[in-house]
């Protein structure tokens, strides 16, 4: 009987054991390894402690700053996405004819594979591509440009493609929350003769505030940690590193150049920035709970 009780005490730990074994192998050890190895360097097959040398080398390379700057520029997509999603969601919230259909269609890009999206857009945006032939067709020949190939346009073009893919998530997220707002709030505002914009500002926004916070922080994390695929497929960081981001820089240093330890130093930098966002995310999440 006693041993049975003892067994019972351990059962929950058996249930979570597989999870922890896998997470330790796949995530925890790699993170610790990256942090430690970022202070080492390999010379003639020997691992030598070099202190902050890898970081020093990383910071002397202007590529790091270019990549950092581009990630920060990508953060600018977040307010645009937030405002656009809110606007579209509030249009759909009024249950205009066909709103379910619109909602379904707007969500589609979000589930598509980034390689598919990236390849299709690289054909659309080519100099001899469709976008330009449409522009020429309607008489705007001057606007026809090499969208992904020109140094000034490549980054904004990639950003637009990322937003095209992400917009649906925000719309559906905000719409779901708006639907749970008490209708009577709007009804009494109608009685008071409030305009659409007043209702949006004084009812919709405050009622969806917590979800907006979530959305902003999640999207910031995405713009930092999950944009590798877009860059890999569409521009490979080019032209002239104009679309380089931290993730791609790490990949390039490691698998393109074989500078594994420097790649790991840059990984730690990325990890530090990500941690700040993750901590904010956790705080926002707890607050809600």
């Amino acid at each position: 009987m006693k041993s049975k009780n003892k067994m019972k005490k351990f059962t929950p730990y058996f249930y979570i054991l597989p999870t922890f074994i896998i997470l330790i192998i796949v995530i925890v050890i790699p993170i610790i390894y990256v942090i430690i190895q970022s202070f080492y360097s390999t010379f003639a097959n020997e691992n030598i402690f070099v202190g902050f040398r890898n970081y020093q080398i990383a910071f002397e390379d202007e590529l790091l700053f270019i990549a950092l700057k581009n990630n920060i520029k990508l953060f600018l997509c977040v307010p645009i996405l937030t405002v656009l999603s809110l606007a579209i969601a509030s249009v759909l919230y009024n249950k205009i004819k066909g709103w379910r259909f619109y909602r379904s269609v707007i969500f589609i890009p979000y589930i598509l594979a980034i390689p598919v999206v990236g390849i299709v857009f690289s054909y659309l945006l080519q100099y001899n591509g469709v976008i330009n032939s449409i522009l020429r067709g309607i008489g705007f020949s001057d606007l026809a440009m090499d969208w992904l190939g020109s140094p000034d346009l490549a980054f904004p073009s990639v950003a637009v493609v990322i937003m095209w893919k992400q917009i649906g998530f925000g719309v559906v997220l905000f719409l779901a929350r708006m639907m749970s707002i008490d209708r009577s709030l709007y009804e009494s505002a109608d009685v008071d003769g409030a305009t659409w914009f007043q209702k949006f500002l004084h009812i919709t926004i405050p009622q969806t505030k917590s979800i907006i916070e979530f959305y902003i922080i999640i999207t910031l994390i995405e713009m930092l940690s999950w944009v590798f695929n877009f860059i890999y497929v569409m521009t490979a960081g080019g032209p002239g590193n104009k679309t380089l981001v931290l993730e791609y820089l790490i990949y390039k240093k490691a698998f393109g150049g074989g500078d594994f330890n420097i790649a790991m130093a840059i990984s730690v930098i990325l990890l530090l920035i990500a941690s700040v966002l993750i901590i904010i995310h956790q705080i926002v999440m707890r607050k809600e709970e």
């Binding site: 790699p30 589930i111 598509l112």
Partner: protein, 274 residues
């Protein structure tokens, strides 16, 4: 009159938006049925001579079918394993009282936002030690690890909504905890399992970075890596590329058509506490 105009403007805006969303998909699909010659002269219009030759070509002599199968195998295996492991952990975190439960759960949740690229080099070295370079097992293991935090989070939150009284009733009937898990929790958690698995299926199917790095062997390549290379190799025959993209997209669209509610719900719940 005023009312009517107010209804018109949102409709026009939404129709415009739908065109912007659909156009790239239309472009991809329509051109996959054209000959290359027709593509060059007619990029936007519907094909004059409808051909499925591009699909035949995509499969013929090229390892396209193999890539498709590889993606299937990885997706099914990784999603199933994740589901089972997350179900156990989710149950423990939601329904069992044990020391450190809260702290352990709180340690798992933030792991879902760690950038995958950061872990690639050490993962590669660990896998080398195990002698698993260029094997499906290695990639499945990494996929499971990356998907677990979000899946456990979903499972646990869902199981929390199942009232304890149901479980207590089962216990009085003399069920052991394991029996309680199978006879009561499993039927009740099937929706959570479906929801999180659908999200996971879409994620694994679309994943590029890990399969790119860990499966360099041509025979093991996934569809996403395949089409990315495909693009470089077939730049002269764009309709064939488009056919490849359509094939890669169809499974996801089928899931979306038949299980939209679950998939969307899972994607929202995975990132946000409801």
């Amino acid at each position: 009159m005023k009312r009517k105009r107010r209804g018109m403007i949102p409709q026009l805006l939404m129709i415009l938006l739908v065109i912007v969303i659909i156009f790239p998909l239309y472009f991809m699909t329509i051109n996959s049925f054209k000959t290359h010659e027709e593509y060059v002269s007619n990029m936007i219009g519907i094909p004059h001579t409808f051909t499925v030759q591009n699909y035949i070509e995509a499969f013929q002599g090229k390892p396209f079918g193999q890539w498709f199968m590889n993606s299937m195998i990885l997706t099914v295996a990784a999603v199933l394993i994740t589901g089972i492991i997350a179900l156990l952990a989710g149950y423990a975190f939601a329904k069992m009282k044990f020391r450190g439960s809260r702290a352990l759960f709180n340690m798992i949740v933030p792991l879902m936002s760690v950038p995958p690229v950061v872990m690639i080099i050490p993962q590669f070295r660990i896998i080398k030690i195990f002698g698993l370079v260029n094997t499906r097992v290695s990639v499945i293991l990494i996929y499971v690890g990356i998907m677990l935090p979000m899946t456990i989070y979903l499972m646990r939150n869902f199981m929390k909504t199942v009232p304890d009284s149901l479980l207590d009733a089962a216990k009085i009937d003399g069920c052991s905890k394991r029996k309680a898990l199978t006879s009561i929790m499993v039927p009740l958690t099937v929706p959570a399992l479906i929801t999180s698995s659908l999200v996971n299926v879409v994620w694994v199917w679309n994943e590029l970075l890990i399969s790119l790095v860990f499966l360099q062997n041509e025979d093991l390549r996934t569809l996403m890596v395949g089409i990315t290379l495909f693009k470089g190799r077939f730049t002269l025959n764009i309709p064939v590329i488009m056919a490849g993209l359509v094939i890669a997209t169809v499974p996801i669209i089928i899931i979306y058509i038949f299980a939209q509610k679950y998939l969307v719900e899972g994607m929202l719940a995975g990132s946000v506490k409801e």
